[in-house]
Amino acid sequence: MTAQTGFPRSPVRKGMTRKQRRMVLIASAGAVLAISAGLVAYALRDSIVFFYGPTEVVEKGLMPGTRLRLGGLVGEGSVVRTPGQKVSFTVTDAKTTITVNYTGLLPDLFREGQGVVTEGVLEAPGRFRADSVLAKHDENYMPREVADALKKQGHWQPGDAKAGADAATTPAPAK
């Protein structure tokens, strides 16, 4: 246990005043909180992933090797499957297009012209290696980040891709 119970029992302990006991309690609580705050701060630096649209990836000049989430629309006619479960497609926001390579099975709702979020590593400018393609749970649902990224590039009309206002009439709790 923490400092609070870590002492051997001795006559001195019995003489501890209420105030001292409270101090021990506060000190041990503070220690646990401080340690976990440290863990949180450390993890927030190392294990979070930023989300970017294709144009942002180029504008920010991200270095190859950067881990990120890339979102946008799957380019029409861009999906190429090769043996060994390899697949490549482009993610686009109408202004910039990035080629994504992925090995594995695609989610049920992966389609050309639809929104997609992939997570992986930037291999070279304009080339991305995804290790996961995130599943969506409704055919009309547009990930909010993708919708925002498309809006930023002016490639967005509410109702154009089915999201935003339209999504309000097609609620989809999932799982």
Partner: protein, 660 residues
């Protein structure tokens, strides 16, 4: 007509809820016993009205009345009856109505409970509960009316999201909501105590059964949701640290802490202020969950429709109830009499440590869930916080807690004997170490964390019953005597043992996931794919049609070594109304392990992509949570919750046996 009756009943319920909130408080203030006792009648009336509204919505679903917008966009005449029924809460508006129904059900249960409560406490609690009802009824009626008509009525509905056309929808949301919403009672009692300015062991004994009930259901709800995701999403994951999952986990952790701190209050008349704060925070986290799920501020696999107006309304509710109760707390808490001193080595201190760790764990989940939101507001950067974050923060807080648990649970109240407790835990610890070493030797080269985790789980399971075993077996001889001794122990002691053992079982299941294997291949009929211990052979691939879908059915033979197991079917479905495909995994249980196979795309050469998993001991994850919930239910049947007359606090404080 029936729809209008439902709508009217819901509006009327709002009026009754206003009465339930205002009149009893006024009565208490004016010392008018007649006014003060309006609460129970109002709570029961409110429940009947909302039940009527819920029933009429359910009727429109069964009758496929597509002139109701909610029915038209979430149901289909070809759906089987069970899914027509569950479609009622498979959408935002209907699930909101279920939320309110459970809220008023709890109000009615408090009103009806025969346990004698101080009149002021009951009046205050019902009034607080009434105010929550007012807020959510207003929200439902103003922003999410499930009874809205559609003119002209379409001939056919748009069908329910295919992922939700599953028995899981019948089970998971109702259980989860009973849990979530049940904590409103603890909150209401806390607010009532603050208004009253008095709190004691009687309060604790009144609140504890409600908290236990909510906790038990929340445990079941979360675990059934996890199992549903595991088999429905088709890739064998059972927990994703998704914001919405976290939204249910946070109240669960806080509720777990609350169950433990109310025990201290009940037995030792201490930790009062903290317990009140915890009761407020637990329900506040439930409200936060409602906000996260329904406002769309966080991207999640659970995406309810996003509508800024709804988000703002819920935010206002959240701010009012969290801010209001915390302000009340800041104002009134100093009036509460401080509890007694306690010795550093005692059951109550151990429970303080429990609360410290649980609160910290809850805080790490809170930060991880809301940090993306805060960062986006401050900098515009979008980030995702995923499993690596939670593995690095949540796990290091929970593991020490679990290691200390066996020692804490065997300390006595008031003044415990650390050495004795450690001695009692040493057999379980030694046994767990042996198991760990054996597993490490057997799985050399495999993941090291798995045997360690299994060892931790074994430690928890064995130690949970070790104390009891000593008490029952060592002091009695003969089966009959053992049985009668076992029955003689308070139920809550057994409840504790089962709940703690359940945690251990779940830990074993989680640790074993490190041994699971995944195989991906492209199969034609007759070809096989091996994953871990299992070999899956594709026997046939054939089309089939269901009531509102067509599907391609793959039949697999499964072999484990020389042993032939029962075949499974895995399906790729296409739901016609929404033109939406889903994957139905084929799962065969093998002891506590499972062989899991799901389908991918059909290839040009006629083969089909197949994912196959060997999931060792995976069922223990959910079996453990069922055991936890069983423990909770067992505690609920404890005698002291059934005895009508509250015992005096003093006698409870001097009870010699640790009863939790």
């Amino acid at each position: 007509m029936i729809v209008e009756i439902g709508h009217f009943a819901l509006a009327l319920a709002l009026g009754v809820a206003v009465i339930q909130t205002v009149v009893p408080l006024w009565g208490v203030a004016r010392q008018d016993p007649v006014l003060a006792s309006v609460g129970p009648a109002a709570a029961i009336a409110c429940f009947l009205l909302v039940a009527l509204a819920f029933g009429s919505l359910m009727f429109s679903y069964v009758a496929s009345d597509f002139s109701v917008e909610n029915v038209a966009s979430n149901s289909h005449s070809a759906q089987p009856l069970i899914f027509k029924l569950t479609s009622v809460w498979g959408n935002h508006e209907g699930s909101m109505l279920l939320w309110v129904l459970i809220l008023v059900l709890f109000g009615a249960l408090v009103a009806l409970s025969r346990r004698s409560l101080p009149a002021r406490l009951r009046a205050g609690a019902l009034a607080a509960q009434g105010s929550i009802t007012v807020a959510f009824l207003a929200f439902t009626l103003l922003t999410s009316n499930p009874f809205r008509r559609l003119v002209p009525a379409p001939a056919e509905g748009q069908d329910l999201n295919p992922l939700l056309q599953d028995l899981g929808l019948a089970i998971h949301p109702p259980l989860l909501y009973v849990g979530y919403v049940g904590f409103s009672i603890s909150y209401a009692f806390a607010v009532a105590a603050l208004i009253d300015g008095r709190i004691d062991a009687v309060w604790a004994r009144a609140v504890r059964p409600w908290t236990l009930l909510a906790w038990t259901f929340l445990t079941l709800g979360i675990s059934m949701g996890s199992y549903w995701a595991y088999y429905e999403l088709g890739w064998g994951g059972w927990w994703f640290w998704d914001p919405v999952e976290n939204a249910s986990l946070m109240p669960w952790i806080a509720g777990t802490a609350l169950i433990h701190s109310t025990v201290v209050m009940e037995k030792r008349d201490a930790l009062k202020v903290w317990t009140i704060l915890l009761a407020i925070l637990t329900f506040s986290l439930s409200l936060l969950g409602a906000f996260i799920v329904r406002s769309g501020v966080l991207t999640s696999v659970h995406s309810f429709a996003t509508d800024p107006q709804r988000g703002l309304f819920i935010l206002a509710i959240l701010v009012f109830f969290v801010g209001g109760s915390l302000a009340l707390f800041a104002w009134r808490a100093p009036l509460l009499r401080q509890g007694g001193l306690f010795a550093p080595i005692s059951r109550e201190s151990a429970l303080v440590v429990n609360n410290l760790f649980l609160a910290t764990a809850c805080a790490t989940v809170f930060v991880g869930t809301l940090y993306p939101l805060v960062l986006e507001m401050l900098t515009g950067d979008k980030i995702s916080v995923g499993p690596p974050f939670f593995n690095a923060t949540f796990v290091p807080v929970i593991v020490p807690l679990l290691l200390l648990l066996p020692i804490g649970q065997s300390l006595a109240w008031k003044r415990g004997d650390l050495l004795g407790a450690a001695q009692r835990a040493q057999f379980a610890f030694g046994f767990a170490v042996l198991v760990t070493i054996a597993l490490l030797a057997l799985t050399r080269g495999g993941p090291v964390l798995a045997p360690l985790g299994v060892g931790l789980g074994v430690f928890l399971v064995v130690s949970a019953f070790w104390d009891l075993g000593e008490r029952v077996v060592a002091r009695a001889s003969g089966a009959a005597a053992i049985w009668s001794r076992a029955r003689g122990l308070p139920r809550s002691i057994w409840g504790t043992a089962f709940a703690h053992a359940g945690v251990g079982v779940t830990v074993i299941g989680i640790a074993a996931t490190a041994w699971s294997t995944e195989g991906i291949g492209f199969l034609k009929p007759g070809q096989s794919l091996t994953s871990g211990r299992y070999t899956f052979t594709l026997e046939s691939l054939a089309p089939r049609s269901g009531p509102n879908f067509t599907e391609e059915v793959a039949r697999f033979k499964i072999r484990s070594g020389e042993r032939e197991m029962k075949p499974v079917e895995s399906m790729k479905r296409m739901y016609t109304a929404r033109a939406m495909p889903t994957t139905e995994a084929g799962i065969r249980s093998d002891g506590f392990s499972q062989a899991y196979v799901s389908l991918g795309e059909r290839e040009a050469d006629g083969s089909i992509a197949v994912r196959a998993y060997d999931k060792p001991l995976v069922l223990l994850i959910w079996i453990g949570s069922l055991i936890m919930a069983f423990g909770g239910a067992l505690s609920l049947t404890d005698r002291r919750f059934r005895v009508a007359a509250p015992r005096r606090a003093a006698s409870a404080a001097t009870m010699p046996q640790p009863a939790e």
